[in-house]
């Protein structure tokens, strides 16, 4: 199973701009490399990443084969209310990982 690491400040003041960082284990196989017998290694990449803040989409990224293995993403959003951040990575070979984090906004 893919391991994901998420860094969200556990507390923030309403209106604060917060930084969110994620790291996930994934080979990001480009589909352009040849294996030992000369045949192409099939593409196996994460294709999309979405972050929902209390079910509202606040960030989305589309991935290409040029993205390195174990992708690290850092982005900002505004702390609006306490609740749940949902992170979802989907890609080739039915890759589908969802993680959640709580945030307290005062």
């Amino acid at each position: 199973m893919a391991r994901a690491l998420i860094n969200v400040p556990p507390r923030a003041k309403k209106g604060d701009i917060i930084e969110i960082r994620t790291l996930i284990s994934h080979p990001m196989e480009t589909g352009y490399r040849a294996g030992f017998n000369g045949s192409l290694i099939p593409r196996d990449i994460i294709r999309s990443f979405v972050c929902l803040y209390n079910d509202i989409e606040v960030f989305r990224a589309e991935f290409s084969p040029a993205v390195a293995a174990n992708p690290f993403i850092s982005f900002h959003t505004m702390a609006t209310e306490s609740g749940k951040l949902t992170f979802r990575w989907t890609g080739d070979k039915d890759f589908d990982v969802t993680e959640t984090q709580e945030i307290v906004v005062e």
Binding site: R3, N7, R21, L23, A68, A69, N70, F72
Partner: protein, 258 residues
Amino acid sequence: MIFRVCLAVLAILTASQLQAGEIAPEQRRSAYDTMSAGTRAMQDDDMANPATLWVLDGEALWSQPAGATQKSCADCHGDAKISMKGRAARYPQFDATTGGVVDLEQQINYCRRERQKATPLAFESHELLALSAWVSLQSRGARIEASTDPAAQKAIEAGRRLFTERRGQLNLSCAQCHDDNWGRSLAGATIPQGHPNGYPLYRLEWQSLGSMRRRLRNCLSGMRAELWPQDAPEYDDLEIYLMSRASSLTMESPAVRP
């Protein structure tokens, strides 16, 4: 006065242990020092260092029962943060029972085979790298001390010989790059002094964590030399020599390298 005489004697002693061309202790530098700011930032922040993904798997494996005994590493060693503190800075070691050099990965596999009665983990497998990353992390910041074990000196000498011998189609020795030309450029890379203080480490070129042995095989094929088999004692000798050559540097495992 006496103090100064002592210092002078000490300087002579240390100098006499160094051989021509070897890097003096005060000139020893980790490859970290010549990395780009971006790569350093990656290593400095565990959240951005992809090696953390292996560390977390290693931490989980540490308390997972395995083998016929159904014992976990934690059952015998307890909290790794205490029991494994500073240990990786003293590997490889000379092992009296086998009469050979044992590196950290081999020691972990020894515990698996003999103490857990489990099948040893494959060389360079995700699980072995994860465990070795988790154990090595407990030595971050620890100072490397050259082994004073008299039994280890023969292996260190053998490693030194391998390091200074020319080999491969390019007819180069390790020392020609890492002792004589460190700090200069080789194609796009800065030649580092070649220290083992960050292993296992995440190499951007590999897109993965890798062991010291993988690095050595990498340099050997760069020299267009024939690779020794995966379990050849030559690697053990080189590894134990490299640790003695790196004494006084601090451990960075698991580091990041370009």
